[in-house]
């Protein structure tokens, strides 16, 4: 009963959430096979073959898969998945978009956002925006699940090298969507879901221009930038900055929430962070209930001061070295 891990990559390397999924996969103590989908992604297949515990890499390489569409991958993956007892994918928009299709065609349930593997058929997952953790039992023949990456460490490379094979590609036999374009929100910053520090802003920042203050702060800290839904809706930042129940889930070493009230939907995406700092002028804001360090006050005076003092701190660090 081997395990098939559907990998996500950016043409260069596996995503951090895929590496977390691999760590989760190892807990099943069964052979792990990774399937990689794309075009000209041999390099990533080589990378995948080097992780400990990986016994085989399937590479689905086809020009039409450069920007893979869920429908185009389904038939090939379905044929492949039939031979496995477990099918895992990261709980990213890639995994969420694709995996339920395989589950439906295998006529099994999908377990979404697994945060703990109790045993081979029992899993823990958050429900109600993380208000509760449900322990669920699946008696389906194939266990299909997405893994929440914040709950597992990233897997490390080992010394082995697994064989790489290509499954026969089956293009879809029915009408499907086609890729037109992707508008990437370009950022030189660390990727939000794997950054060790995240600076997030909310409606309290009032304007897009004010939100830019967070850029300076993030630069000083080497942090990624996140946002509440209200900040995204107001157009301060692009959609993929949204942290929360229906956005991204993050768990950095340090999360700084600025002008964010702390609605349950927001907390769902960041309450596993190691250290939480909240800056808010309202001492009753719910964000303070999860904050390790809270500072009550007007962000328009606190933020400039914080930036100045951090700059001084960095300078002092440099002269000390």
């Amino acid at each position: 009963m081997a395990l098939l891990l559907i990998a996500e990559h950016d043409q260069e390397k596996l995503t951090p959430s895929t590496l977390a999924t691999l760590t989760a996969a190892k807990q099943f103590s069964v052979p792990i096979h990774i399937v990689l989908i794309g075009h000209s992604c041999q390099k990533v297949a080589e990378e995948a073959s080097r992780y400990e515990g990986v016994e085989k890499v399937w590479i689905m390489d086809h020009p039409s898969l450069l920007h893979p569409i869920a429908e185009e991958m389904t038939d090939t993956l379905l044929e492949l998945a039939k031979g496995y007892g477990f099918v895992l994918a990261p709980s990213s928009t890639f995994g969420k978009n694709l995996l339920p299709r395989l589950a439906a065609l295998l006529d099994v349930a999908q377990i979404s956002d697994v945060i703990q593997i109790v045993d081979r058929q029992t899993f823990v997952r958050p429900i109600y925006a993380g208000n509760a953790l449900a322990t669920v039992l699946s008696q389906d023949d194939t266990k299909v699940m997405t893994i929440r990456s914040t709950a597992f460490d990233k897997a490390e490379k080992g010394s082995s090298k697994a064989p790489i094979e290509a499954p026969p590609f089956k293009p879809p036999s029915f009408p499907h969507a086609t890729f037109v374009k992707i508008e990437k929100s370009s950022s030189k910053r660390p990727e939000l879901t794997s950054a060790s520090i995240v600076v997030s802003g909310g409606r309290g920042l009032q304007t897009k221009e004010n939100f830019e203050m967070l850029e300076t702060l993030a630069d000083l800290l080497g942090a990624a930038i996140g946002a509440s839904r209200a900040a995204v809706d107001a157009g301060f930042v692009p959609n993929d900055y949204q942290v929360g129940q229906t956005g991204k889930v993050v768990a950095p070493d340090l999360y700084i929430a600025i002008g964010i009230s702390g609605a349950i939907q927001h907390l769902a995406g960041m309450q596993e962070s190691k250290v939480i700092v909240a800056l808010n002028k309202d001492p009753e804001a719910p964000i303070f209930q999860v904050a390790d360090y809270g500072l009550v006050g007007d962000l328009f005076t606190i933020l400039p001061e914080l930036i100045e003092k951090l700059k001084m701190m960095k300078k002092a660090d440099l002269t000390q070295k």
Binding site: Y128, N131, S138, S185, L295
Partner: protein, 249 residues
């Protein structure tokens, strides 16, 4: 053309739900219930397509116990034309719901099915994708913008890396993200009118589908509490704590 919109009745997003004392599930007694917010957005999008003349009928569907008729009435009050209630006492899960919706699609022949991307109670985010796979129709998930011209859909999706644009032919399955539109409120006259609108009641048996849940919930628990935090008085105190106590900067 006809649009089918799937709506789920869920705990209102503003309610902080508690766990039952026996830890078998959530305590929903007396709790405010609403249309799943993503489904409100789905209904709104269908209504806008009708107002633009792209579609002629908006059919809303819900699967669940008798109480879901309340949600269907709410959708009718927003402007949907007709409702179907698939009645079951079982807990609904995405696979069963997708199968019931597939059977309804075959019966009603809509050209477009719109669902929410996620039900905010179970947070599964699966049903639309499952339905698309079962129907062998194209899918556009987590969409934040939609245009339909002739037989072609252009949809913009909210993905991890930014915004992805897809095009696909009708018929298709779409799931909504938060920024697709701002749903309207039901007006009083429309609430009155909704009472007269047709609501058909079917069972899983009549549709020939099995709604038995595949996943069994063994228990629910509170997430581990965070250790209590403290309020600091100044930026200096904050930086000092972050550096020397938490050691994160």
């Amino acid at each position: 053309m006809k649009i089918l919109v799937a709506v789920k009745r869920v705990v209102d997003y503003s309610v902080k739900v508690r766990i039952k004392s026996d830890r078998t599930g959530m305590d929903l007694a007396g709790v405010k219930m609403s249309l799943n917010p993503f489904d409100e957005i789905a209904v709104e999008e269908a209504l806008r397509l009708k107002e633009k003349g792209v579609c002629s009928e908006v059919l809303v569907v819900s699967i669940g116990d008798t109480a879901v008729q309340e949600s269907l009435r709410a959708a009718l009050a927003l402007g949907a034309d007709r409702a179907i209630h698939v009645k079951t006492e079982l807990e609904t899960q995405p696979l069963g719901v997708a199968k019931a919706l597939k059977a309804l699609v075959e019966k009603e022949t809509p050209q477009l099915v719109v669902l929410g991307k996620q039900a905010i109670d179970d947070d599964f985010n699966q049903t639309g994708q499952m339905l698309s796979a079962l129907l062998k129709w194209p899918q556009g998930t987590f969409i934040s913008s939609l245009t339909i011209e002739g037989q072609e859909i252009q949809a913009v999706r909210e993905v991890d890396g930014g915004l992805e644009t897809l095009k696909m032919p009708l018929p298709a399955v779409l799931t909504t993200d938060l920024r697709l539109n701002q749903p309207r409120y039901a007006s009083l006259p429309n609430i009155m009118k909704a009472r007269q609108k047709p609501m058909e009641i079917l069972t899983a048996n009549m549709l020939g589908v099995d709604l038995t849940p595949h996943l069994q919930t063994l228990k629910v628990a509170e997430p581990p509490p965070r250790k209590p935090g403290l309020k600091v008085e100044s930026v200096d105190a904050l930086l000092d704590r972050l550096r020397h106590e938490a050691k994160v900067i």
